[in-house]
């Protein structure tokens, strides 16, 4: 209870145990209860929304981390593979890459299913396997050249349709014409499944391969590297410039109309829609400076422009939070203004500045809109090796997969969202950890 002088005078006359006072007290408690109820229900609503969003993502996405494989006996026919020079590794690899693995697969399939002779049926049978199955066979040969000419069991990657069937995402009950997989194909899968040849395992390739048009082959590695390179550029540009401007504006700049104007503009920029920064990036970095389209360098510069206001504002707040007594003490001991700032104020505000910067970077990590304008929203398979090469970013990968017609991309989209969320949680967790570890309480 806050006591104003009026109340002090009144206290003398009030009988605290009177009915009137009791009912007043009651009504105050009731109001508090109502307030608490509303506060708690809004919190509950927020939590429910979060649970629904996360739940639906995890429900659809978790199966994206598994893949279906079918074990087949593959006869590595010498007449098809030709004479491979096993002693010259380089030449050997080159010849294996050029070998007609498709024919090996087809002839092995025909051995397993001798009743399949029609060309279209052979095609249908082959469609049970991913194009990545050929890579699996190649890997077997490369790992151990001595198997050439023999029949070996190989775990082949199944096609997305088979994968969806096994995971129950394609219903068997609907008419044949309405699904992507025919009755005959389902019968083959069941036959293989009953023989114990169909297995499900963890989808490592999701983490180590690049984008693909085939859902079962698509992965997030190149997008992750793209995001990393982009954020690196963003950090290297935005952090020094942002902190520098914050120090100047907070500690050195005179307070006049000009600095007021600058401050208003910075606050304004923080609220500008991110697509506008994309347009700016397109105009300046690509059309004027002629930097390459789709490069993480351009993406990083554009996102740096977007992150700058956030970093400046949070850094200024952190600098402001350092008590004046520290500054006064330093100046009192003869430190110059610059020494005061760099020896005392800046180190003490560093946890706050880093927290703000990391949150700004996390924002940049989740951004797609500005990247559309500068060409990073594109189908890019190869992993970028430098910040000048074409690349995409994680949220862009999510956006592109969400737009793909193939059913198999549904779970991949959610799986990629889960990975992106994991990165965001790590970054924000790092921000909290830094703050708690280094923050000084006054």
């Amino acid at each position: 209870m806050t006591d104003t002088p009026d109340n002090d005078q009144a206290t003398a006359r009030v009988t605290w145990h009177s009915e009137e006072q009791k009912s007043r007290l009651k009504s105050r408690y009731r109001k508090e209860k109502i307030f608490k109820f509303f506060a708690m229900s809004s919190l509950a609503a927020a939590i429910a929304a979060l649970v629904v969003v996360l739940g639906s993502i995890i429900m659809t996405g978790s199966s994206g981390f598994t893949e279906t494989r079918i074990e087949m006996d593959i006869f590595l026919d010498k007449t098809i593979l030709g004479d491979l020079p096993t002693n010259d590794r380089q030449e050997f690899e080159k010849q294996v890459a050029g070998a007609n693995i498709n024919r090996i697969l087809v002839s092995s399939l025909q051995k397993e299913f001798p009743e399949v002779t029609k060309r279209s049926d052979v095609f249908a049978l082959l469609r049970l396997f991913s194009v990545g199955a050929q890579t699996d066979i190649r890997d077997v040969i490369l790992n151990d050249p001595s198997v050439i000419g023999e029949t070996v069991p190989v775990d082949l990657l199944a096609s997305s349709n088979v994968d969806m069937l096994i995971k129950g995402n394609i219903s068997r009950d609907i008419p044949e014409t309405d699904r992507k997989i025919s009755d005959q194909q389902i019968a083959w899968v069941d036959q293989l499944n009953n023989a114990g040849k169909v297995t499900q395992g963890f989808n490592w390739s999701f983490f180590v391969s690049g984008d693909s048009r085939e859902p079962e082959l698509a992965g997030i590695w190149s997008a992750t590297i793209g995001s990393f390179l982009t954020l690196l550029v963003t950090f290297l540009i935005a952090f020094p410039i942002g902190v520098g401007s914050a120090i100047y504006l907070e500690e050195f700049a005179p307070k006049n109309r000009l600095t007021d104007l600058i401050e208003i503009n910075i606050n304004n920029l923080a609220a500008v829609p991110s697509i506008i920064f994309g347009l700016l990036g397109l105009a300046i970095f690509i059309n004027y400076i002629n930097l390459p389209r789709s490069a993480p360098l351009v993406g990083g510069l554009t996102l740096a422009l977007m992150t700058l206001p956030t970093i400046i504002i949070t850094s200024r707040a952190a600098l402001k939070a350092v008590p004046p007594s520290i500054k006064e003490a330093a100046i009192g001991l003869g430190a110059s203004h610059m020494q005061t700032v760099f020896h005392h104020v800046l180190p003490l505000s560093m946890p706050g500045i880093l927290t703000g910067s990391i949150i700004g970077m996390a924002q940049a990590l989740g951004e797609t809109a500005p990247l559309i304008m500068i060409g990073m929203v594109a189908f890019i398979v190869d992993t970028p090796g430098s910040i000048m090469e074409a690349s995409t970013a994680l949220p862009v990968q999510v956006y592109l997969w969400a737009d793909s017609p193939e059913r198999g991309f549904l779970e991949k989209t959610s799986a990629a969202i889960m990975v992106l969320l994991a990165f965001l949680i790590i970054m924000n967790g790092l921000a909290i950890w830094l703050r708690q570890k280094f923050e000084k309480k006054w």
Binding site: A378, V381, D382, M388, A390, P405, R407
Partner: protein, 344 residues
């Protein structure tokens, strides 16, 4: 701690400096353009990257119009080599190209795409005439010989054979090539059957186009963005709604949605290929001839795209929902690609 931090920062900047190679000549094909052609173009790009020693081309989905804009900015490494389009290049775009020095453009037709009207399997299959589509979606329509703002609220007001359900159509926004083609093929197709409209066409061509192509804005037509998966999801949730999108999305989702019959023919692979289904268009890509031989792999990309492995009856593009050219058409296109015959 902060001294170490400084060292780390210096370390990171050194690493990043080493990451910047000197800008080399581009050795990767760059493709832009239509989002409808994107799934096919990327499938070819991926296979091309896998089966040749060239780098996998970078494919951007910018929309047909956006693609031409980028394509026509000039000749040189900074500009794209190929642009995909779900409609033919306009003469204004050829002029823009010519103005910026892009003279020889090779047009490659790759196949057909049906634009389908579809609804949830839970509802009955719809059976439209082109006239019905225009009457349901146009801003102004012909009633009793007069042109009035669209008064229709339910389908059976237009055609008694259609169900008594609210007109609710989810379709692409104006920026989309699919919308352009839908307006041209379905709406104009229905619109021009009215003698009143024919009369206007003779007098005022612009008014005619506006009347036939303008879609109503009173909520019956809902722009659902470029994401066709979103439309499919909404159709599932709302059996009363009808969606407009490309054939490949119908093919991938035929277990939950069904294509409506238009002018007596259903949107099936065969009907679109045989051109019996009316609302279908050609898909193209355009190659900058000046870049062939400069950017490595363009010719090889063309032959991969037009190979039997991709375009044939069992090719992977047919699997993705592209309706292929007839064998005579394909033979002709192959000659064009071989000789790189430019547009006139």
């Amino acid at each position: 701690m902060f001294k170490n931090l400084n060292k780390t920062l210096v370390g990171i900047s050194l690493i990043s400096v080493s990451l910047i190679n000197a800008a080399e000549a581009r050795d990767q094909i760059r493709i832009v353009g239509s989002s409808t052609v994107f799934p096919f173009s990327t499938a070819v790009a991926e296979e091309f990257g896998r089966s040749t020693s060239f780098k996998t081309p970078v494919v951007e989905s910018t929309g047909s119009g956006g693609g031409f804009k980028l394509f026509c900015t000039g000749v040189g490494e900074a500009t794209p080599d190929i642009t995909n389009a779900s409609r033919a290049i306009k003469s204004s775009e050829i002029d823009l190209c010519a103005k910026n020095g892009v003279k020889d453009i090779v047009e490659i037709t790759i196949g057909y795409d049906g634009i389908v009207l579809a609804n949830s399997k839970e509802a009955k299959q719809m059976n439209f005439k082109l006239q019905d589509i225009w009457l349901a979606l146009a801003k102004d329509v012909v009633v009793d010989g007069k042109i009035v703002p669209n008064p229709y609220k339910t389908w059976n007001e237009i055609n008694p054979d259609l169900p008594n359900r609210k007109i609710e159509v989810l379709g692409p926004p104006p920026t989309s090539g699919t919308r352009d083609a839908f307006a041209e093929l379905a709406l104009e197709g229905g619109c021009k059957t009215f003698p009143e409209i024919e009369a206007i066409k003779a007098q005022d061509e612009n008014r005619y186009t506006a009347l036939c192509h303008t879609i109503r804005e009173d909520g019956a037509y809902i722009e659902a963005g470029e994401n066709d998966n979103l439309i499919v999801g909404k159709l599932q949730a709302n059996p009363n709604a009808v969606g407009v999108f490309g054939y490949s999305f119908l093919e991938e989702n035929s277990d939950v949605i069904q294509g409506s019959i238009v002018e007596g023919s259903a949107p099936t692979f065969e009907n679109i290929a045989d051109k019996v289904y009316k609302v279908s268009r050609s898909l193209f890509f355009y190659v900058k001839k000046a870049h062939v031989g400069v950017i490595p792999g363009i010719k090889e990309y063309l032959s991969e795209f037009l190979s039997d492995k991709a375009m044939g009856d069992f090719g992977y593009l047919a699997e993705k929902g592209l309706i292929p050219l007839t064998s005579e058409e394909l033979a002709k296109v192959r000659v064009t690609a071989e000789n790189l015959t430019p547009l006139k």
